[in-house]
Symmetry: none
Subunit: 522 residues, 2 copies
């Protein structure tokens, strides 16, 4: 009999407390819809009254047609020494018109006395009466016990009294929050077990943060100790080091702990969901994120790639497809022959594994990487290099020379760049000049002008990404610079690399490879 | 009696298997020195023979004067069916001349039979004889049991036989590797306990990966189950989702599990070490990294920030200073003003807090940062800006114009750069030209030539660090580029910044600020 676990997402509320994370109302609505499609059970939408954005969200969310998820409004227990029905903040929680309401209350006497400055007794009343008030108004009520673990360690008896107050008020869930994220697995687990024995048939939830780097592990420990609901955020968005990451917790619960989750049937959409959340929050997606990151199943080491080729499962803890991810092979100076064979295959090149030239190629590759080239994101440059080595291609043009000039006039306050490029194309000498604000832009234009008469398709190429990295920056102006560029033409995207102690030269190499690659593929 | 735990770092070897992570020989040496200063016990330097970079590292590392750390060379057991003394790879391990050698061998029969394609019996011989051979040659030998947990689950008896072979060979440590990073805390802990009971007085180490998002938690569980050494990497660099992150494991062991670590006295340098590792790997530092990240103690929520003021420990699981970090309340305009005052004081500038110009300065600063400038590492540019704003300085020279030309001759295979600079210095027009291989070098020379007659001290300045970062790289050749440069003159070091959609212009701005700052300080 599988253990049932409910997923409670707070990306739209706690997640937006993360540094650099903010969500527009439109993004919050789209994300809510996407989470419902995925099968999330509860979606915490925001804190009514805390800001206009959250207000607007609750007004508009009712118009979404959700299949499964319950929206929850977040707030706190009533203020001290007033009646619940007179508390404006609780009123706003009802105005949000959500099926579920989540309120947090104080567990830790340090907070009761020094932060909200009231008595231990009054705090218990605040909890019981606030929950009672919301239940009377027909809400599902989740009670978030803030700082539960610190409070419990400080005074177990009082901590349990606060939970008793919530139970007496009629709470549907007791959520134990490790607000500061300081608790480690063993201690966390034993405390959750203790509470589960105490709460009997009132279900327990856990809400964790990643301050100790174990946010995922403690969430799982909570489930193993008897919790039946996990709160967290997509991609671990959240204050400080973030909330517990649901994109790691969900696959662990389904694939490793064999739990019964309503979203389990959609697990293969997990990577999509994660990328969508990044897009909505306008955050760079973390390629190293477990399960759903772009690097999660990327193999670099020669030995590993070789073995991964022989026995897939031998270097992958799960099959990437289960979470909508895939295996990738990276080229690096740790590569072996097998890696090159795999890469060539991936690139659609027929080569003979026994070809002695492969050995020479590997030596050349290692030397180039030693000199600053990197091919992980430069398949096109890699393929060109391999093709040249195996004499499988002759370049579509020969470079004679190029020149770039950058001029700054301080009075007119203008900077202009001019580039000239001389190529031999199909036996014809093409000598062209172009200008732009930056030197790379000027080179790009002149280069294309020199090719377009022979290869008009050269104008369809877009330069979509351009990165510069100084290696050994300690060498100052003489440091080697690596330029990585990405190009697009219709649906095809290809990356190239250049490296030199001259930034213009490195950029030129990246451009040259891109055009040569495009023309090789005619 | 505290539990003693040794820290084994493999950033220089396993860490470089991470996507986008590569370290030059110079960076590896600097990082090794820094880790020794911090108190790391073992530093795995690389795999001799796997690539020229690792070769060069082992040749040069002997010249470092290490106070405490032992360097280890990494490799594998001998090939099947030959004598250890005839195995070229084992020879290379000895040639590395390190006090310690770490070799990995197979635990999992799936690998023995399908990957290295030999017999269960021969695999045991390979382990025992390889360890024996290295011990005979006077090395400390750490035996890495690859895929230990998968192998153990598949066939406990055989897995323990492989460890027995290593013990019989004389191994100093048995390291249990969760190579695929698939094992969760409970199972991991019980297996490590089982092995510790089996291995008796041969100490056990653990080597974990973060594929399930619990790399830190399982490493800690290993220690709690009896392991006395933890392998990991700085910032969790490593293949796929990375190795277990020592920057989280170390503070957890010292501050939460009360273990005895040799690096404990230097814990307050942990954030420095983490940033230095990012710097060496040219990786963007992860602000959300536990303990050492820039966001680790950053409070955004009004409630939290307010409470954090009232009761510091109420929203921080540790005191940030313990790991060299600090509390941040994410900026308001007021803290902006306070920040400027602080910075000005730090830079030895007298300014009046009530000066209305400060508000204008803050607006200007916001605009500049919006345009791509960043001042965290550019105090000199910041001070110049502030001084100009408060009309406290008049520049030592006026720029009329500059020009840079880069020429490539494909036949002669030479690239040369020529720069001309026209300045007005003390009423005299100075027009100078210089050449170098790269455009920045040429600009630097011409610039100095134009100043030296009036300010000979300009020649004492060394450009010691030069970084280029493309912001919004999606704009391709038109993306804004930020150049960050560091200069040295005797004991004084200063940083400047330039930003433009023209990389040469950005570099020029960084140079100009550096010289202007130097001359302002006369």
């Amino acid at each position: 009999m599988k253990q049932k676990v409910f997923i409670y997402d707070t990306t739209l509320r706690d997640g937006t407390q993360g540094e650099g994370i903010s969500l527009t109302v439109a993004s919050k609505l789209r994300l809510a819809q996407k989470m419902d499609d995925f099968g999330v059970d509860f979606i915490e939408g925001g804190w009514p009254g805390s800001n206009p954005r959250d207000m607007a969200f609750f007004e508009q969310v009712s118009s979404l047609e959700l299949k499964h998820a319950k929206i929850s409004a977040f707030g706190s227990t009533r203020r001290a020494n007033i009646r619940a029905e007179d508390d404006n903040q609780l009123k706003l929680l009802l105005d949000a018109k959500t099926p579920c309401v989540t309120i947090f209350g104080k567990t830790w006497l340090l907070h009761v006395e020094q932060v909200i400055k009231t008595t231990a007794e009054e705090n218990l009343k605040m909890i019981k009466e606030s929950v009672e008030f919301l239940k009377k108004n027909g809400r599902i009520v989740i009670y978030d016990a803030e700082h539960f673990f610190d409070g419990f360690k400080d005074n177990r008896e009082y901590a349990l009294k606060t939970l008793r107050a919530a139970i007496d008020g009629g709470a549907d869930y007791l959520c134990l929050c490790d607000t500061n994220g300081g608790t480690l697995v063993e201690e966390f687990k034993s405390i959750v077990k203790d509470v589960c024995d105490f709460s009997k048939d009132v279900p327990v939830a856990v809400h964790c943060h990643n301050d100790s780097g174990v946010g995922v592990a403690v969430s799982l420990a909570g489930v193993q100790a008897g919790a039946s609901m996990v709160q967290g955020t997509l991609n671990g968005f959240g204050e400080r080091n973030g909330n517990a990451n649901l994109c790691s917790i969900i696959p662990n619960l389904v694939l490793k702990l064999n739990c019964d989750l309503n979203c389990a049937p959609n697990l293969s959409k997990l990577r999509d969901l994660s990328l969508f959340a990044d897009e909505m929050a306008n955050a760079r997606s973390d390629s190293r994120q477990p399960y759903v990151g772009a690097s999660s199943f990327a193999h670099k080491g020669g030995v590993h790639a070789d073995a991964a080729n022989k026995v897939k499962r031998s270097y992958e803890h799960i099959s990437p497809e289960l979470v909508g991810n895939k295996t990738r092979v990276l080229v690096s100076d740790m590569s072996g022959r097998a890696l090159v064979m795999m890469k060539a295959k991936e690139l659609g090149m027929e080569i003979d594994a026994k070809d002695p030239k492969i050995k020479d190629f590997l030596d050349e590759l290692k030397q180039l990487e030693f000199n600053g080239y990197g091919y992980e994101a430069a398949d096109a440059s890699f393929k060109l290099l391999l093709a040249k080595f195996l004499k499988k291609t002759k370049p579509a043009f020969a470079v004679h020379n190029y020149r770039v000039m950058v001029e700054r006039d301080q009075f007119k306050e203008i900077t202009r760049s001019e580039a000239t490029v001389k190529l031999e194309v199909n036996g014809v000498l093409e000598h062209m000049v172009a200008e732009a604000h930056g030197p790379v832009g000027a080179l790009d234009l002149a280069f294309r002008k020199a090719l377009v008469r022979h290869y008009p398709q050269i104008m369809d190429i877009d330069l979509i990404d351009f990165k510069v990295r100084v290696l050994d920056s300690g060498l100052g102006a003489n440091a080697v610079v690596r330029v990585q560029a990405e190009f697009k033409d219709g649906d095809s995207i290809w990356g190239t690399v250049g490296a030199s102690d001259n930034v213009i030269e490195a950029a030129w190499e990246a451009l040259r490879d891109a055009f040569e690659y495009k023309l090789m593929n005619i």
